[in-house]
């Protein structure tokens, strides 16, 4: 079963995953969609951590620490950020991967830091690429700047269409697509940043009330 869902916080996500587990669905993959398999075992407790790892060894060490203390990694990868665990201690519903509030809150801060870094890298790349003339930024407003054939737009009739269609694939793949991808990625990172900021405040407020 595949499902798409967005959550306002990690605790809301964990709660939903626990509910799915009670219905007999076990999470096996999380990319854009949550992938579940039918599961006959007892219901389990889910926990979501956020972390990106510099190398394989650190990631392995992290997974082993969790496994040693009773948490099986079910979804996530070295660079995915969100890491999904299920607890092997089925009888204890109060079990958590965090033993204090700060470290639980720190998930959001890390996501914010990583998003800001990502935005920084992409903007730097974009600015350098524009300065070196690799992208003509005017093409965002006027796509004709993505075409480099000299005098293309002064041509007419058959001559124009021939030159235009000849260059079109190159313009799309090498000039327009990269700009769309980079800008799309920046928008995604800004969304992540705003989400983490909003969720952190929401969860902090919730915890203070309780």
């Amino acid at each position: 079963m595949k499902k798409f869902k967005l959550f306002s916080s990690y605790s809301a996500e964990e709660k939903w995953l626990n509910e799915q587990s009670n219905l007999g669905w076990k999470l096996v993959k999380k990319k854009l969609f949550y992938t579940f398999h039918k599961n006959t075992q007892n219901s389990s407790v889910y926990a979501v951590d956020y972390r990106i790892f510099k190398n394989k060894d650190s990631y392995q060490d992290y997974l082993n620490l969790f496994q040693d203390s009773g948490w099986i990694h079910v979804a996530g990868s070295r660079l995915s950020g969100e890491q999904y665990f299920i607890s092997l201690l089925n009888e204890d519903k109060d079990v958590s991967i965090f033993s204090d509030r700060e470290s639980s809150q720190y998930r959001y801060k890390k996501k914010m830091i990583n998003s800001i870094q990502g935005i920084g890298y992409l903007l730097t790349y974009l600015v350098v690429a524009i300065l070196y003339g690799y992208f003509d930024i005017r093409m965002i407003m006027e796509p004709r700047y993505a075409f480099l054939t000299p005098g293309l737009w002064e041509k007419s009739g058959m001559e124009f269409w021939k030159a235009y269609l000849f260059e079109l694939p190159f313009a799309l793949i090498f000039r327009i697509l990269p700009v769309i991808l980079i800008i799309g990625y920046i928008i995604l990172m800004v969304t992540y940043l705003l989400w983490a900021f909003y969720s952190q405040n929401k969860e902090r407020k919730f915890e203070n009330e309780n």
């Binding site: 951590d49 992290y62 082993n64 620490l65 040693d68 965090f98 470290s103 720190y106």
Partner: protein, 112 residues
Amino acid sequence: MKRDKNLPLTETVYYILLSLFEPLHGYMIMQKIEDMSNGQVRMAAGTLYGAIENLLKLKYIQPVFSEDKRRKVYQITEKGKEILLMDMSRMEHMITVTKQALEAGGKEDEKI
């Protein structure tokens, strides 16, 4: 004298540093802390991982050679021992002044 900005240490940080007088990997740190604190301090995996990362950054602990390639092993550094001792004297001082206050308070009770 200006106090180190990392003082006072939290209870968990204090116990992590104390447990690392001998080289240990993550899960062994958790077990030793639970032991040393008579089961009072039970650290969860995510919290411990973050704390280790932070202590490495502060250079209070360092990775040491590990037979087990899949689990990193850490040990306290000189800098780590220094901060631990500073925190110990801070707590000793608190205990001393507390005892003094209790004694003085006790005497006043007698007068009444």
